[in-house]
């Protein structure tokens, strides 16, 4: 039975104070949820706990004794493991080698050589625990985002860990994997591991957390026992105001047929049937790896269509590049913001302006004043938490980065908006704002195709949902059957 405590932690980046005298207390065998808006300082606090950053002030105690954690090796020596919010896998290495780096001691043989046999055996076991069926020598670059998330989970729990920090582990996971993860967490808790769990999905906290600690603007707001905590109160503590109605779905006013896929086939998906009308929000769901992203990529001209038919506004059309799709009025908000959504060396303004440069030109030149005004407006509209629009996008918190990705496509004012995991890592307040935006677009008569692994969100926001199973559309849930049971039946290969 041990207690890990952080006391009076303060941290600034340059002149920006990110944490101000924050406390935290974690006991063995409990799950502590850390709740806060995007940019509240959750990840920063965890990085301080694990020695990635050093605090400007404050101390860390283990069982009452001050400990010094100044580098990653220090926290690891104390048995503290972390799964970072941003995927931290080596794309150039295999799954097994990703397990090796950072845990070499266990696989050392002879003078610094690697015991590959033991490594692959252990890794195979760990993958089994999280339910990932992939050979251990698979290069990570060949894995989908969700699968990578599973690899990270498996990696974090493999070693003898006393305290485990999970920074948004479920952001890219669907129900099935999330349920399996929660089983794992319960098992670890029973084994006496203390767990800090960060997530923006409120309902998860009720399922898994014992206690919750709330941060706002880098300040400690309070802790509550999860049992019996009032969701409205938690949200108010977190955002400082009331946030109503979780899923503010509006009734659709379906208009013109925008998009029709008839038997669409690419190298990863086959025989896709779906359609989207103006003025409705259509969902695309399914388990991880069922091919949802691939369908979106095919529509948006990223992947080549190999068979079947696609009609856009009634005309047969296939886009040969994202540029062509965007010119025709299709916007594609990608799921992996680091790899596909943001140029990290660009400022927030430059990222926001990228797909719509042609809308603000003077001659061939960028109309700078209009671009600035546009960027400020977008920052304001999406409540992106930045000092100003010139800030480098790489220094934003995860959720705020996601808003920038969304913002750059909203500006495009498309007829058809494809959203792949648009609220991944976004806090409740901001989610509401995104939902409002979706509804506004819907009211303006746009068609929206939304992919989400957050099932309540998908069912709550969409007028109807296509469900995918193993690379094809298995069926559609709408009206009466727009519920979890029917969805899961289709998603696992059953028929309605």
């Amino acid at each position: 039975m041990s207690v890990l405590e952080m006391k009076g932690i303060t941290k600034s980046f340059g002149s920006v104070k990110v944490l101000e005298s924050v406390d935290l207390r974690l006991e063995s065998g409990e799950v502590l949820a850390l709740l806060g808006e995007n940019g509240a300082g959750k990840s920063t606090l965890m990085k301080i706990l694990t020695g990635v950053y050093s605090a400007d002030a404050g101390e860390i105690r283990l069982d009452g004794q001050p400990v010094s954690i100044h580098q990653i090796q220090d926290s690891r020596a104390l048995g503290i493991e972390i799964m970072h919010q941003e995927l931290s896998l080596f794309q150039n290495l295999s799954i097994a080698e990703n397990f090796l780096i950072g845990h070499e001691a266990a696989y050392r043989t002879g003078p610094g050589l690697i015991d590959y046999r033991k490594l692959h055996r252990d890794v195979a076991k760990a993958l089994l625990r999280v339910g990932l069926q992939r050979p251990t020598s698979t290069p990570v670059s060949a894995l989908g985002v969700g699968e990578q998330q599973l690899v990270e989970i498996a990696r974090a729990i493999q070693s003898k860990v006393r305290f485990l920090i999970m920074d948004e582990p479920t952001a890219a996971l669907t129900e099935v994997e999330t349920a399996r993860l929660f089983d794992l967490i319960r098992q670890l808790r029973a084994d006496g591991v203390g767990i800090i769990y960060i997530s923006h999905r409120m309902e998860e906290l009720y399922q898994i957390a014992d206690k919750v600690e709330i941060l706002r603007d880098g300040k400690f707001i309070g802790t509550r026992s999860m049992a019996g905590a009032d969701e409205r109160e938690l949200i108010r503590m977190m955002v400082g105001r009331d946030v109503d109605e979780r899923y503010p779905r509006r009734d659709p006013v379906p208009g013109e047929m925008l998009l029709e896929l008839k038997g669409l086939t690419t190298h990863r998906v086959r025989n896709i049937h779906l359609n989207v009308r103006a003025g409705e929000v259509v969902g695309l769901g399914g388990l991880m790896g069922s091919g949802r992203t691939e369908v979106a990529r095919a529509i948006a001209g990223v992947d080549r269509i190999r068979g079947g038919e696609m009609r856009f506004r009634g005309q047969p059309r296939m886009f040969r590049s994202p540029g062509e799709a965007s010119a025709a009025g299709v916007a594609f908000v990608t799921e992996d913001r680091k790899r596909e959504g943001l140029i990290l060396s660009f400022s927030v303004r430059e990222n926001l302006a990228l797909p719509t440069l042609d809308q603000r030109k003077r001659g061939g030149l960028v109309h700078r004043a209009r671009e600035r005004a546009f960027a400020n407006d977008m920052v304001h509209r999406l409540r992106i938490k930045v000092a100003n629009a010139e800030q480098a996008v790489g220094s934003l918190s995860g959720g705020n980065q996601q808003k920038v990705v969304l913002g750059k496509w909203l500006a495009h004012n498309p007829d058809l908006l494809i959203l792949d995991e648009p609220t991944r890592g976004v806090d409740v307040g901001a989610k509401q704002e995104i939902y409002q935006l979706i509804n506004e677009m819907k009211a303006e008569g746009k068609g929206i195709l939304m992919i989400s692994s957050d099932l309540p969100e998908l069912l709550g926001m969409c007028d109807r949902v296509y469900v995918m199973y193993q690379g094809t559309t298995q069926g559609e849930v709408k009206g009466e059957s727009l519920n979890e049971e029917d969805f899961m039946t289709l998603a696992t290969g059953g028929e309605l």
Partner: protein, 309 residues
């Protein structure tokens, strides 16, 4: 803070100013109009190459073939002029040769998706070989005197190559820092995948930057040929390294997406001033390389900032 430093190129600028001040103090000849005009003139060829190189490096590419492109295009121009082709036509043909050289690089890199380093290393050797074949290893001289205007005339006391370089710098600056294609070039360099998904025609821009680099190499070749009054088969050997050095000294990242033309100009100026200074101070030849290397290391230490790479 780091941002301010970067925005105003304080790192490279401090290095340059320090060098400048030291030279002004230790050598009475350094800070004279005539000498500074010389430095500017001598910098012009490298600056022209470095401007093109900046475009390329911003896309995370590299162009090792500029020295050979320079030699090939100017040899052809000189050969034509000696063969009584009108000067203007020979100049245009040289520019077209530069453009085609860049196009070849660009096709390999943008469409065949091959690594810029190795592609341009191959074309560097290929173009050099073509120059050797064309010239049969002999310099081409007796170029019509009319052509010497470009390299040797002055307007209002300023050498024509310097004026030309400044004009090209300004045009390139507007394109890179103020125009839409410029922004897209930065985007391609920042993250090709993201740029592509945002509708940027990545291949087109990759092609473009190598063509810019090729044309500017031809311009540099014409200036050099006009200054020398002859075209040498070995002209431009090793110039690619000087151009890259100027770009990187100016703070542009070899990994693309970050850097400015002002930085490149400062980088080229540092190199120009080092060479001029070593000469007018009459530093022992055996010591020059060591001193030059040490100054480059000092200059980048002054510009110490988070990984440029």
């Amino acid at each position: 803070m780091a941002n301010v430093l970067r925005r105003y190129h304080l790192g490279p600028l401090i290095g340059f100013l320090l060098l400048f001040i030291i030279l002004s103090i230790v050598s009475p000849q350094f800070l004279t109009f005539g000498n500074l005009r010389n430095v500017a003139l001598q910098m012009s060829v490298n600056t022209l190459l470095a401007v093109g190189m900046t475009f390329v490096i911003l896309t995370s590419g590299i162009d090792l073939s500029v020295g050979s492109t320079l030699a090939l295009s100017s040899a052809i121009a000189a050969g034509l002029m000696v063969g009584h082709t009108p000067i203007w036509l020979a100049v245009v043909i040289a520019l077209v040769v530069g453009l085609l050289a860049g196009l070849l690089n660009g096709i390999f890199i943008a469409y065949a998706r091959l690594a810029p380093f190795i592609v341009t290393l191959g074309t560097m050797t290929l173009f050099r070989g073509m120059t050797e074949i064309y010239t049969q290893g002999t310099p081409i001289f007796n170029i019509p005197t009319g052509f010497s205007w470009l390299g040797t005339a002055q307007l209002a006391g300023i050498p024509v190559p310097v004026i030309l370089t400044v004009l090209i710098l300004v045009a390139a600056w507007i394109i890179l820092h103020r125009s839409i294609p410029g922004r897209r070039i930065y985007a391609v360099g920042g993250n090709e995948q993201v740029a592509y998904l945002a509708g940027v025609r990545v291949k087109k821009y990759l092609l473009l930057v190598y063509m810019v680099s090729g044309v500017l190499a031809a311009v540099a070749g014409l200036v050099l040929t006009s200054r020398l009054g002859s075209a040498e088969p070995t002209a431009g050997t090793g110039y690619e390294l000087d151009a890259i050095t100027a770009v990187v000294l100016g703070g542009t990242s070899l990994f693309g997406g970050e850097g400015t033309l002002v930085g490149t100009l400062i980088g080229a100026a540092i190199l120009g001033v080092i060479d001029n200074g070593l000469n007018i101070l009459n530093v022992n030849s055996f010591w020059q390389d060591a001193v030059r290397g040490a100054i480059i290391l000092l200059a980048i230490l002054l510009d110490r900032k988070k990984v440029t790479r």
